[in-house]
């Protein structure tokens, strides 16, 4: 080992000097990164925060020297220790990757080969870089898995990826990254694909390992709150340029740039309530859900002959709740908790058992959901790409509910008004969905829902697929509309911070069961159910410590 491999603390482990990256496209060069200057020292965690399209992932590929064919590098240097990576041939880079610098990816279900055992994928790094035999690598691998907190390492080595949970898989990926004691590790949004509680565990693991080994870490994320929890310094990147960098404390207490301020403000802070708590509990609730259950699964055709047992999965288990007129009821839970299932049952997309009462009328199944019900109960979906028909113009998409539920006269003017109401230009009516951005499409979906002047709008994770800043503006729009029209919302999300800002009451769901329904202000009281308390604890809250 030469001196350069473990530099003295004074020399940063990773230095990026005035580095730029372009992609050659049919429309000319696209400037993905412009004059990036960053440095990470031994033992340090640098957070890189940016939204989608900011170039943060491109930077990771540049560092690892794994760029597509149309990438051009007009200038700059990337130094690992004192080695300029830009000058290294591919062969040499292959010896660096995994050994001197490694990476942890976002989604463990796609970054692990589904047809190889977890052990094989961990051991191969050891065989490759530390010259161990497969036998030795396997044993070492087991030790590593134990080190990352897996309970049965020997068994886990033999498991296939689909036989392990998201959290377990990510631990294996982390173990592989740390396996050869690299100088630097890049973490690319490693908790985005995991649920809240598991994310917290993985984050804690990362912090522990990093403190133990002193590896220089680049932590890439879109989540400022998360980064603030873990990093010492933060760099904010927007459209390929570093907008601001500094210690976490400085950035939060004294942000210099507008964009940084925007990002900080966009992070949902449960301490800042955005609604008034003055929804009087009326005697007549708008909607009552009584012991609604949803089951999935049906017998396959020949099961009677083959005698195979059929599994019925329970999506919702006897859920009962109510919503008052004008109230915002939030539903939180992990994926698989049944929140969307309930939403779909209420709009007739799932068959259910039990009763739903709307304004006193009983709804027992799809047939009871008549035109009047449809007019008053609307739903907005999570993915704006999928919820707008790609072959219909915006005009057609928005005029349809008007024709069904409202006044079909002067559609052009009405559609134009609707677009303005959601802060989109009137001319968007002539466009197709693929010509709009994600945030714009979601606004159209919102406009569509409000076209019939409904009494209840169900929002099914409508901000989860959006960037933080876009999310903030969409939420603002929703609250504005609510004030103007007095519509009740059933707001489904997994973002606890967000729901604490905007909901009057919060319902917590877990694996198909309704755990409890409480007033938003009481969600963090110690009287809460155990699951609720675990959830609250697991969620990172950035600003609190700095205000």
């Amino acid at each position: 080992m030469t001196n350069t491999e473990h530099p003295s603390p004074a020399t940063p482990v990773l230095t990026i000097e005035n580095y730029s990256l372009d992609y050659e496209t049919a429309n000319g060069p696209f400037h993905a990164l412009k004059n990036i200057d960053l440095a990470i020292s031994r033992g340090e965690i640098l957070g890189l925060v940016g939204e989608s399209g900011s170039g943060k992932t491109s930077l990771a590929w540049s560092i690892m020297r794994y760029l597509p064919k149309n990438a051009r590098e007009p200038g700059g240097r990337i130094l690992l220790g004192s080695d300029n990576l830009l000058e290294k041939a591919e062969r040499e880079m292959e010896t660096f990757r995994g050994r001197r610098i490694s990476m942890v990816f976002q989604d463990p279900s796609t970054s692990l080969n589904p047809t190889l055992s977890l052990g094989k994928q961990l051991a191969e790094v050891l065989v490759r870089h530390r010259g161990l035999s497969w036998q030795q690598a396997w044993t070492e691998g087991e030790a590593r898995l134990a080190h990352v907190g897996l309970k049965t390492p020997a068994q886990m080595m033999h498991r296939m990826p689909h036989e392990a949970s998201g959290g377990e898989k990510q631990r294996v990926v982390i173990a592989s990254a740390f396996a050869c004691n690299p100088e630097c590790i890049i973490f690319d949004e490693p908790t985005t694909a995991l649920d809240v509680i598991t994310s917290r565990q993985i984050l804690d693991l990362f912090v522990e390992l990093q403190a133990e080994t002193g590896v220089a870490s680049l932590y890439i994320s879109h989540d400022l709150a998360l980064v603030a929890r873990t990093a010492g310094r933060v760099a904010v990147i927007k459209r390929g340029e570093i907008v601001e960098q500094g210690t976490v404390r400085d950035i939060f207490t004294n942000p210099q740039q507008d964009y940084t301020r925007e990002l900080i403000n966009a992070v949902p802070d449960p301490a800042r309530r955005l609604v008034n708590d003055d929804v009087a509990p009326t005697e007549k609730p708008l909607v009552e859900v009584e012991k609604v259950s949803v089951h999935f699964g049906r017998k396959p055709f020949l099961s009677a002959l083959t005698g195979r047992k059929t599994e019925r999965v329970t999506g919702n288990n006897a859920i009962s709740l109510s919503i008052s007129p004008g109230e915002i009821l939030g539903i939180v839970g992990e994926s698989g908790s049944g929140k969307s299932t309930l939403a779909k049952a209420m709009t007739g997309l799932n068959r259910f058992e039990g009763k739903i009462r709307f304004e006193g009328r009983e709804i027992r199944n799809l047939g009871d959901m008549d035109n009047a019900y449809r007019k008053d109960v609307q739903i907005i979906f999570q993915h704006p790409d999928a919820s707008l028909n790609p072959r219909q113009k915006i005009f057609e998409i928005l005029s349809r509910p008007l024709k069904l539920f409202g006044d079909a006269s002067d559609l052009e003017r009405q559609v134009g008004d609707m677009l303005e109401q959601v802060r989109l230009p009137r001319t968007h009516a002539n466009r197709y969905p693929h010509q709009l951005s994600g945030g714009e499409k979601q606004r159209v979906a919102i406009a569509r829902a409000f076209a019939s002047k409904p009494k209840l709008v169900i929002c099914d994770e409508i901000t989860s697929a959006l960037d933080v800043s876009v999310q903030a503006s969409v939420v603002e729009l929703l609250l504005e509309l609510q004030k103007a029209s007095g519509t009740a919302y059933l707001f489904i999300t997994h973002d606890l911070n967000l729901i604490r800002q905007i909901a009057h009451r919060i319902a917590v769901m877990y694996r198909g069961d309704l755990i409890e329904v409480v007033k938003a202000s009481e969600i963090d009281s110690p009287d809460r159910a155990e699951y609720t308390r675990r959830l609250i604890e697991a969620v990172p809250r950035a600003a609190a410590q700095y205000q």
Binding site: R298, P300, F301, K344, T347, G348, L349, M369, D370, N371, Y373, R374, Q378, I379, F381, Q382, H383, A386, S387, L388, N389, P390, R391, Q392, R400, P401, L404, Y432, H434, R448
Partner: protein, 274 residues
């Protein structure tokens, strides 16, 4: 429309494909008018001639001009193939959509049956049908259409199912739209594109299947100028003049490749996102 054509021409497959297919269609429409000689005219003295100024591609075993015969034969081969594919697609699409719509047990039953039917290779199936109905051009068309129907049913069903799963269909259901509206306005426009792509590619298979049937004596009958038949007849005389064999083969290849490439090109051009 202009936008669409531009996109089609962007890919090499689309450009070459549309060029070839348009060329073929022109031949189909104008071929017989442009033919320099009467394709049926026998000239015993001019047999087995190679390409020349009078006979552009040479003559066949009866002294008929090969070029003119090819032009005539385009109608027999191409038109029949296209028609057969369209009919087969319509039947298949109906079955596939119905199956996707019905769902549940009915869907499973229909699909298992289709799978079973598809275990008879298409050529074999076509042979059986022709055997049943008698050997002629029209019957061959029917045979090919029926042979293609199950495959198209499968594809239609899978496309319909994936369209059904999309949230915009869910949004329509949540609005209380009728089944008719959903199928017509929400699903169909998104289903048609992949079907057209598949159909275009199938035309090339239909051309080959049709030609094979004629080759085996079970499709077009002499003295029709169908290309497959021309190749079959050429076998006996090919050592006297290779052209009799080569030119119809080239014609078949051009049509098959053309539609194949066009299908590939359409696949990209019809994608609304790209």
């Amino acid at each position: 429309m202009i936008d669409f054509t531009k996109r089609l021409l962007k890919t090499p497959q689309g450009a070459i494909g549309i060029f070839l297919v348009v060329f073929v269609l022109l031949v189909v429409v104008f071929g017989p008018l442009v033919a320099p000689h009467d394709p049926e005219k026998l000239s015993p003295l001019a047999r087995y001639k190679g390409p020349s100024l009078t006979y552009w591609l040479g003559t066949d075993q009866y002294g008929r001009d090969i070029f003119s015969r090819l032009l005539i034969g385009a109608r027999a081969t191409v038109v029949m193939a296209v028609l057969a594919t369209i009919v087969g697609t319509l039947i298949g699409a109906l079955i596939g959509t119905a199956s996707a719509f019905l769902g549940g047990r009915a869907d499973e039953l229909i699909m298992r049956t289709i799978d079973a039917v598809m275990s008879i290779p298409s050529l074999l199936f076509a042979l059986l049908v022709v055997n049943l109905l008698g050997s002629s051009t029209v019957n061959a068309l029917v045979a090919v259409a029926i042979a293609f129907a199950p495959g198209m049913a499968r594809i239609t069903r899978s496309v319909a199912l994936s369209a059904r799963k999309q949230d915009y269909v869910n949004a329509a259901v949540a609005r209380g739209e009728s089944a008719g509206y959903i199928i017509r306005r929400e699903m169909l426009p998104n289903v048609i594109a992949p079907i057209i792509v598949e159909m275009t590619i199938r035309v090339s298979f239909a051309v080959m299947l049709f030609a094979t049937l004629s080759f085996l004596g079970l499709g077009a009958q002499p003295p029709a100028a169908e290309w497959g038949l021309m190749v079959s007849e050429a076998r006996r005389y090919m050592h006297l003049s290779a052209g009799i064999l080569i030119w119809p083969s080239v014609a078949i290849a051009i049509v098959a490749v053309g539609f194949n490439l066009l299908g590939d090109g359409l696949r990209d051009a019809l994608n609304p996102r790209a």
